[in-house]
């Protein structure tokens, strides 16, 4: 899929198109196996619900930083992502605008509902 086709989606979900293109260009410069790893992580990150474009752009830029530096140091892929890549990605995504699978409004709904339930007991 080209950037043009994904334009609307990217603009909403990943933030400014230019930053996304720059990120993609950086990833293309990586050695092939590092690129494969970043592509896989990128695909997984897409499963999380983003809530602000800037923060999401920063997330992908930071991901590129990590892999560029690791490639320069010759760090093996396994030492970058660890034995459990899912755990790494989930710790990573938490740093960006409350990254999660669940939309922020749903988390708020749960928090508020529990608070109301607690108050009911006190009445």
């Amino acid at each position: 899929m080209s950037d043009a086709e994904k334009g609307g989606f990217i603009a909403k979900v990943i933030g400014p198109k230019r930053r996304w293109r720059e990120y993609k260009a950086r990833v293309r410069q990586l050695p092939p196996n590092y690129r494969t790893a970043v592509d896989a992580i990128e695909r997984y990150l897409m499963q999380f619900v983003p809530n602000d474009g800037d923060s999401n752009a920063s997330m992908f830029e930071d991901l590129a930083d990590l892999f560029e530096q690791a490639a320069a140091d010759g760090t093996p892929i396994r030492e970058i992502v660890g034995e459990d890549p899912v755990e790494f990605v989930e710790a990573f995504v938490q740093n960006y605008s409350e990254g999660g699978y669940v939309p922020t409004r749903e988390r708020k709904r749960l928090t508020d509902a529990i608070a109301r339930a607690e108050e009911e007991r006190l009445r």
Partner: protein, 114 residues
């Protein structure tokens, strides 16, 4: 230095205190991510992933506990060098207080269980 390779349980325990460990390392001197990971691996925490340390550094930077300087590196992009700031030092002191509390209580439990 005594080399000791830790198991899965120790790795799980380490996760909870990794933030404190990284801040403690940075209280000695500024460092970049790879150095911190290498230090931990050298201490026997061989399972620690560079990405895990990196994610943690991103987090402590966002929380304003460290100052960051971009330093050109011979190979690859500039490295982000992290140093502990005043807020970070206060946070580290709090970490050590909590650590002492935890160790004391666990020791009591350990002694009591004998």
């Amino acid at each position: 230095m005594k080399r000791y390779s830790v198991g899965k349980q120790a790795t799980e325990m380490l996760k909870g205190v990794l933030e404190g460990i990284v801040l403690a390392i940075l209280s000695g001197r500024p460092a970049y991510g790879y150095e911190i990971t290498a230090w931990l691996r050298n201490q026997g925490f061989s399972d620690i992933a560079e990405g895990t340390v990196y994610a943690l550094l991103v987090r402590i930077e966002q929380r304003g506990l460290v100052d960051v300087e971009k330093v050109p590196s011979g190979k690859g992009p500039p490295r982000k060098v992290y140093s502990l700031n005043t807020q970070g030092r206060e946070y580290l002191e709090e970490f050590w207080r909590n650590w002492s509390f935890l160790v004391e209580r666990l020791e009591q439990l350990h002694e009591g269980g004998k």
